[in-house]
């Protein structure tokens, strides 16, 4: 189910502005890769290029190559909608659809893409909510609005919604930054369980979180405001946190800047 992502020499632009420059990396399947770095260094932007979400913003475009196993995500024949069905995303702020019930939120991705069979939907909704560790909390109120849940539950609902379309890769853009520590712990446990089935990439500002949940960590930085962000290094998480190759990584990790 999980697939490998190979990025080579990727530049990301918003109009004339080059936001990210020269990123090459491999994201391993069935593992968690964390992106860390100071604000504005392009880690979220880069994450969004992995499922072509940056194109939603006017002027967003890339140069370079992103391969999902042997598929070129930026090939002219590739439909961005199909890319996003394969590579799911969870956002910073929980964003359940406010007009929909818990059940409808989880079923949304399938329903909006034409799946109508009630039995299929029931099965996938239950399986996804169980996968997101939310089933026991909501199984008796599936028809209640999704927006009525707590922040942490909403975020797990969003994860359930993302895995309901059965993606190969799950991108998470600071999924815990709007949550309290207990909800954060629940999401981190969930990430640990999900990585046996999915390739997970997570952007985080919380270095302890990166150390706790990820197998590999990528450090992004930028020279100055207005300059494009770059990938400084990517390695095993233990290596990055204990003995990084670059001085700037060590400075950032130890809190000397950023």
């Amino acid at each position: 189910m999980a697939k490998r992502i190979d990025v080579s020499d990727l530049n990301v632009y918003y109009g004339a502005f080059k936001a990210v420059e020269g990123v090459s990396m491999t994201v391993e399947p069935r593992s968690v890769t964390a992106f860390i770095g100071p604000s504005g260094c392009g880690k979220s932007t880069f994450l969004r290029t992995l499922n072509r979400m940056h194109e939603v913003i006017p002027g967003g475009r890339v140069e370079g190559k992103v391969m999902l196993d042997d598929q070129d995500l930026y090939a002219p024949s590739m439909d961005p909608v199909m890319v996003r069905r394969t590579i799911g995303m969870v956002f910073q702020r929980p964003n359940p659809f406010p007009t929909m019930s818990i059940y409808d939120n989880v079923a949304a991705g399938l329903r909006l893409n034409g799946v109508r069979n009630k039995k299929t939907l029931d099965g996938i909704v239950e399986q996804s909510l169980k996968g997101a560790n939310l089933w026991n909390e909501v199984k008796d109120r599936l028809s209640k609005p999704g927006a009525g849940l707590s922040g942490g539950q909403q975020q797990r609902l969003c994860i359930a919604r993302a895995i309901a379309v059965q993606p190969q890769v799950l991108l998470m853009d600071e999924p815990c930054s709007a949550l309290d520590p207990i909800s954060t712990l629940a999401i981190e446990d969930l990430i640990n369980e999900l990585k046996s089935d999915y390739t997970i990439v997570i952007v985080t500002h919380n270095m302890q979180q990166a150390a706790r949940v990820s197998d590999r960590t990528a450090f992004f930085n930028l020279k100055a405001t207005g300059e494009p962000g770059r990938l400084i290094e990517i390695d095993e998480t233990t290596k990055i946190f204990n003995n990084p190759n670059e001085q700037s990584t060590e400075d950032y990790i130890s809190g000397r800047f950023g």
Binding site: M53, V81, F91, N95, T99, A108, V165
Partner: protein, 324 residues
């Protein structure tokens, strides 16, 4: 520093004396003096607050007076006609201004029909324009359309009516009819719908669009099932405001849809009865008590009709609104 601290505390703790544990009294003044000084700015704010309150209530009552006055006049002079069953079933056929009796059903049906046809044309155009402006429009074309909508919303109703007259009657040589009036009303309704729908679509958080895109949902499905769905109740409210505006519009009817006292359900041929035109008809013989009463009754009927539409819309909006 301590002066700053005591100053900040004033609103929450008016009776504070200088010997509070956190801020020792200034050594060269008594506590009372300090208190007096502290309460001065507070008194100033209280006076400003009072003035603002009075201004607010006075404005409120000034605004309410004409509204209450109009309602009272219309209700007190027109209600007795509405209490008879004929008012809701009959028409004005063979009833002269000096006669009492007859009904307004022909005009009620006419106004509803005309508003319905107008909405049928204007609502899809207006909503689709708003969707284009908010979801797709970039650059010159969008700006041009937005500017045109602004101009259209400033067009006086009589100008819209004359424009339709020039096209419908002068250019195409067609007869004046209910449908021609409806076309003029469409011109007046479109900008109201575009602007209100646009505002509602802008209120839909971008996160919801992104959430749908990230699930691999195509853009048009996202707009139909997520964006329009989330903005539904606001859009309904906008449509109702538009309807309320055009139902009372009279100039296009004067020019394009001559009144008839008979039942008439054909929008394309002959005269067409509407409530504003029925009011206008009786206004001509205002000196006659029978005509004056009928005029007030018709006005009240129109007000009630708009009110009823608003209530229906509120109910629809309530059941379709964002769940909390």
């Amino acid at each position: 520093m301590s002066a700053l601290k005591t100053d900040q505390r004033v609103p929450e703790d008016e009776n504070m004396t200088g010997d509070s544990p956190t801020s020792p009294p200034p050594s060269n003044r008594s506590g009372n003096e300090a208190l007096r000084e502290m309460s001065n700015p507070h008194r100033g704010r209280a006076i400003k607050d009072l003035i603002a309150r009075i201004a607010m209530w006075v404005s409120f009552f000034v605004a309410m007076v004409p509204l209450a006055w109009i309602l009272w006049t219309v209700v007190s002079k027109g209600i007795h006609l509405l209490l008879s069953a004929t008012w809701w079933t009959g028409n004005q056929r063979n009833i002269n201004s000096s006669d009492v009796g007859g009904g307004a059903r022909h005009a009620i049906e006419g106004t509803l029909m005309m508003a319905g046809v107008t909405a049928l044309i204007a609502v899809p155009i207006g909503i689709l324009t708003a969707v284009y402006l908010v979801e797709y429009g970039r650059g010159g074309l969008a700006r041009a359309i937005s500017f045109m909508v602004d101009i259209l919303s400033g067009v006086p109703s009589i100008v819209a009516a004359l424009f339709i007259y020039a096209v419908w009657v002068t250019t195409f040589g067609l007869d004046r009819s209910g449908f021609a009036a409806a076309l003029a009303l469409v011109l007046l309704m479109i900008p109201v719908i575009v602007r209100s729908t646009e505002e509602m679509l802008k209120l839909v958080p971008n996160e919801l669009r992104e959430a749908a895109y990230a699930l691999g949902v195509p853009k048009w499905v996202t707009i139909v099932k997520i964006v329009l769905r989330t903005a539904f109740s606001g859009i309904v409210t906008g449509v109702l405001l538009g309807l309320a505006r055009i139902m009372g519009e009279t100039a296009p009817l004067l020019i394009l849809a001559p009144y008839t006292k008979n039942f008439q359900h054909d929008l394309f041929n002959g005269n067409f009865p509407t409530l504003p035109m029925m009011i206008n008809q009786d206004r001509g013989d205002f000196a006659l008590a029978s005509a004056a009463a009928r005029m007030w009754g018709t006005a009240l009927t129109l007000i009630l009709l708009v009110l009823l539409l608003n209530i229906i819309g509120r109910v629809i909006a309530h059941f379709g609104s964002v769940k909390k």
